[in-house]
């Protein structure tokens, strides 16, 4: 029961003696809608909604989260967007990100293709954060050579809370889509936990690294593409694909979902792999230990799988660093079984790429060529020294840094 001062209380049904209706107060849970203004001098941006926290509000009647804002609602709650661009929105899906899958990925890629053909200046995709990096990676392969930025955005604190990161993320993402020169699939989320700047991460190198922090997305094994703050983009890397005036883009949504990730653990039994063989899987991405290892008891079953035409790729569960299977004998042995090292591709990226590669071909050499040829930065030739920075709290110089800077 909601009482006069706004508090809710629960009353046991057996404690109610009588109920009298004294009046009526109806809830109208709606962001005040205002027509999104059009300014011919501003870039045109399309916002696709797929669901998730960013484009959601609570329906207190059912307790459910209602996804997707209309442009009017967005303008009503984040009026700053109108200073950035002309915004159109389209709700593609209304799902939590764990429910995104091949159908939604294909649909999103095709929708992007159509909008590019229609002439938009940038695309923003509102997405749940949990699997945003999977979608960012798969779109990097399905949408190639885009002439405009494709920026994925979400929020870690839902927009029904005053301290939400949703508004700032939306402004930053919209600004990047409208004005940045980087025509790639990117993720735009908080840099530090403070309300300061967002980071533009390359879609194939980004990963969600904390279950709840605002600054959960990090570029792994490299540095982010750029910082974005208050209508300003500060480039951190210059080897990116530039924005173009033409409307050409390659949309390739062929996809074979019969792939699995196997996260190796000590004493893993061969039956795990057997079960994948039995169930008709066509590809396996192993997240191996260290430089890319699994235990000896798995060797026979891996050999069997390779012989049966299953494509097996090795990545590292350390996330940072390259697979290097020559260093130890065991690595060489595993390669001889037919397992292919996947360089410094992140396990999730290798997973979606293998699905996509198997959509193109089932020929092992052809698949290998696709897998090991970088398309969108998923494999890099070198890892810069500052591509691996996890500052450890407690160390005096780190403490000095965080007490001085609001990060």
């Amino acid at each position: 029961m909601k009482i006069h001062n706004g508090y809710n209380v629960g009353l046991g049904v057996d404690t109610i003696e009588s109920i009298t209706e004294l009046g009526r107060n109806e809830a109208h849970y709606k962001i005040p809608e205002k027509e999104f203004p059009f300014d011919p001098s501003k870039p045109n941006v399309k916002l696709f909604g797929t669901g998730g926290t960013i484009a959601s509000r609570l329906d207190y009647r059912t307790g459910a989260v209602i996804p997707a804002f209309s442009p009017g609602e967005l303008y009503g709650s984040v009026p700053e967007l109108a200073d950035i661009c002309n915004l159109k929105t389209e709700k593609l899906y209304g799902v939590f990100s764990e429910n995104m899958g091949p159908d939604q990925w294909k649909g999103t890629a095709e929708a992007i293709g159509e909008e590019i053909a229609n002439g938009v200046d940038g695309i923003v995709i509102g997405h749940g954060t949990d699997t945003m990096h999977h979608t960012a990676a798969v779109l990097s392969f399905m949408v190639q050579d885009s002439p405009v930025p494709i920026v994925m955005v979400g929020s870690q604190r839902s927009s029904d809370r005053p301290s939400s990161d949703a508004a700032i993320n939306l402004m930053n993402a919209t600004y990047a889509a409208s004005h940045s020169d980087i025509a790639e699939v990117m993720v735009c989320m908080f840099g530090p936990t403070s309300d300061q700047y967002g980071l533009l991460h390359r879609g194939t190198r980004v990963r969600k690294m904390h279950s709840s922090y605002r600054s959960t997305f990090r570029t792994i094994g490299d540095i982010p593409l750029a910082m974005v703050e208050n209508g300003k983009i500060t480039h951190l890397k210059n080897d990116y694909k530039k924005r173009r005036k033409d409307r050409k883009v390659n949309i390739n949504t062929a996809f074979d979902p019969r792939v699995s990730i196997v996260y190796y653990y000590p004493d893993m039994k061969p039956d795990i792999i057997e079960s994948l063989i039995d169930n008709g899987y066509k590809g396996i991405v192993i997240a191996g230990t260290g430089l890319g290892h699994v235990n000896k008891p798995l060797y026979p079953v891996l050999k069997k799988a390779c012989e049966q035409g299953i494509h097996i790729y090795m990545t590292v569960q350390t996330l940072w660093g390259y697979v290097q299977m020559f260093v130890y004998d065991t690595g060489r042995d595993i390669m001889e079984l037919g397992v292919i090292p996947a360089s410094n591709m992140l396990p999730e990226v290798a997973y979606v790429k293998l699905c996509w590669a198997l959509g193109q071909s089932h020929d092992s050499e052809e698949v290998k060529k696709i897998m090991l040829t970088p398309i969108a930065g998923e494999i890099t030739e070198r890892e810069p020294h500052n591509g691996y920075l996890i500052l450890q709290g407690g160390i005096p110089e780190v403490e000095e840094f965080i007490s001085r800077y609001k990060r």
């Binding site: 849970y29 005053p162 609001k406």
Partner: protein, 641 residues
């Protein structure tokens, strides 16, 4: 109109229709915080990290924006939190969802809810109470209502308790200047209970008295935090025709009466302005104001406000309030006029906090010169019935300032605004924000409701401590005087007293006096260091059994202090209790030495001296009896002479 509090009687307050209620925030004594596992440690202003946040208003459950939230949003504050890693985790930073509500806190809060005779809810629902001022990094406080409709006795009547809630404490403000606000997070997340009384108090002094009763009641549980900042009061005040105004952050109960008095007369004054506006025919629909950029006009003058403002690159605006002539000079609080209400809004909302931030043409003393006002009047076309307010600020703040001046002036048509006001050390108060309404509450979707089970009610209810007034009644029934009983009922020694009373055979009256007076004296003078409660009770028990006076017991306590308890018997055995004869001899010889006293003084003098000679071991009653006899017999002897 303002009046002095000393001149007021209860019927004077009745005449203006004063109603006042309290909201008491009391931290409860748990090891950990309410929604995370951070330890509760003493306050400290040492911090090792800082984070920056901004707040945006969100919709309530019923689809409304809260007015306060929208006002706070206008201030566009950069909010910095200073964080100490010993006491703050990612939960308080709002980078982690809440953990399960601290069950220890729930138990204590339920106990106090029951002590207040409240009806318990069947399920506690956790709500989010929006605070856009940034005092909580999440932008809302998690709070839950545990009981409603309680009461405490007050004289011959009851003060009703509207509700009791359990919630997390907020940050402490370090500074707030311009668009930068800094908070220290050292008390953030500590569990506290909020007790809200009905507006049942009708004089300022009653408010303070009820605050004391509620504070004592909370302490009766023995599970609340003590010390500076552990309890804070908000006072709600209204008068007939006015409306509820909340004065926040009163940390000392003795400060309450003057605050209530001044607020009551602030409302009375605002109601006078309302009547005057109505007399002048100014209503919501006829209200008219205009503003003008007077930067250029003022630039040519030598006004020191203008010089300073222009030096900082500020712009100046003149706001003309049609028909408001003279009203801004109406006194609303001691030392303050209605103009202060306007200045406050400009300070808080437009963040122009270098004072003065406005001047008006009705102001006495330091303002613009007549000549400068003439220039402004000419530019604005204001006539002799209008009031002009001039404000200065940066280009980005000046529009907000102008709009706040207009809004506050217009609000005067309705008399008193529902506001949250800040208590100031001189007993006056200043604007803090618009009083938040129910729209700032919405359910916390991160945690499920908590069922208050029969088991909890039974477990806590059966172990409920005595309420202070119940305890006092019990003592009075045992023969203790009212005031002593009241004192003991709220004393920290009440539990120790009770166990002593159960074990020894001194009368409650004598024993309670010993605890409240003699024992305190011994403690203060440092004569019983390290005395354990066990030894104390054992001495009282043994001394009582041997019919020793309470004074003798005190003597023994002093001797045994610091030794192991086997010493007690030895001290008692070796104690030389003066007999009747010794007392009489001592009194006789001392009287010889004494000069000429009148008999009452002589009695006091001799009693003191005799007791001193026997180290205070002799029973006070015995000594007085002996002394009286000795005095009487001397009087008899001399009579015979």
């Amino acid at each position: 109109m303002t009046r002095k509090m000393e001149e007021m009687t209860a019927s004077d307050y009745e005449a203006i229709g004063l109603r006042s209620g309290l909201e008491i925030h009391q931290q409860i004594d748990t090891e950990k915080k309410l929604f995370c596992r951070c330890p509760v440690l003493p306050y400290s202003d040492v911090y090792d990290a800082q984070i920056l946040r901004h707040m945006r208003p969100t919709l309530s459950e019923l689809g409304e924006y809260d007015g306060t939230a929208l006002m706070e949003f206008k201030t566009r504050k950069n909010i910095t939190y200073q964080i100490n890693s010993d006491t703050i985790c990612t939960y308080e930073m709002d980078d982690n969802p809440p953990f399960e509500l601290n069950p220890q806190a729930l138990d204590i809060a339920l106990e106090i809810t029951m002590l207040l005779n409240c009806k318990l809810v069947s399920e506690a629902h956790i709500l989010r109470k929006q605070y856009l001022d940034g005092s909580i990094p999440a932008g809302f406080q998690r709070t839950t209502l545990l009981g409603v409709d309680g009461w405490v006795p007050f004289g011959n009547r009851r003060i009703n308790i509207i509700q009791l809630g359990l919630e997390e404490d907020a940050c402490r403000e370090v500074s707030d200047s311009g668009h930068e606000r800094v908070y220290l997070t050292d008390r953030l997340g500590i569990p506290l209970i909020e007790t809200v009384t009905a507006p049942d108090m009708t004089t300022p002094h009653e408010v303070a008295q009820v605050a004391v009763i509620l504070s004592n009641l909370a302490r009766a549980s023995g599970k609340v935090r003590r010390g500076i900042g552990a309890a804070r009061q908000d006072v709600n005040v209204s008068v007939t025709g006015g409306c509820r105004v909340e004065i926040k952050g009163v940390s000392r109960i003795p400060a309450i009466p003057l605050l209530v008095h001044n607020e009551a007369f602030r409302q009375v004054s605002l109601l006078e302005i309302k009547r005057e506006l109505s007399r002048r025919g100014i209503t919501d629909s006829t209200f008219s104001s205009e503003y003008f950029d007077v930067t250029r006009e003022i630039a040519g003058t030598s006004s020191r406000y203008a010089v300073t403002a222009l030096k900082r690159g500020f712009e100046l605006r003149a706001v003309v309030l049609r028909g408001y002539r003279g009203l801004l000079s109406t006194v609303t609080q001691p030392g303050h006029t209605f103009a202060r209400e306007i200045s406050d809004r400009v300070r808080v909302v437009a963040c122009l906090d270098d004072l003065p931030n406005i001047v008006h043409d009705g102001e006495e003393g330091d303002s613009f010169s007549d000549n400068e006002w003439e220039i402004i009047r000419k530019k604005t076309g204001a006539d002799s019935e209008d009031a002009i307010v001039v404000v200065w600020g940066s280009a980005e703040d000046i529009e907000t300032a102008v709009s706040e001046i207009t809004l506050r002036a217009k609000d005067a048509i309705d008399g008193v605004c529902s506001e949250t006001r800040q208590s100031l050390p001189d007993g006056t108060n200043g604007f803090e924000r618009i009083l938040p309404g129910p729209n700032r509450m919405y359910p916390d979707t991160d945690l499920p409701p908590i069922v208050i089970t029969e088991e909890m009610i039974e477990r806590i209810g059966s172990a409920l401590p005595e309420r202070p007034w119940e305890r006092a009644e019990r003592y009075v029934a045992a023969g203790v005087p009212n005031e002593t009983a009241r004192q003991m009922s709220i004393s920290d020694m009440r539990f120790l007293y009770d166990s002593a009373a159960a074990k020894c055979n001194y009368s409650p009256r004598v024993l309670m006096h010993f605890f409240l007076s003699t024992l305190q004296h011994l403690k203060k003078s440092g004569r019983i260091p390290g005395l354990t409660e066990e030894s104390l009770i054992e001495v009282l028990e043994k001394a009582g059994k041997q019919n020793l006076s309470i004074e003798a017991a005190a003597f023994i306590i002093e001797r045994v202090c610091g030794y192991d308890r086997t010493g007690i018997d030895i001290v008692i055995k070796n104690l030389k209790i003066p007999g009747r004869k010794e007392l009489e001899d001592a009194a006789g010889s001392l009287m010889e030495a004494a000069g000429n006293f009148d008999s009452l003084l002589l009695e006091q003098y001799l009693t003191g001296k005799v007791r001193g000679r026997f180290n205070g071991i002799a029973g006070g009653k015995d000594v007085i009896e002996v002394v009286r006899n000795v005095i009487l017999s001397r009087a008899g002897n001399s009579g015979r002479r």
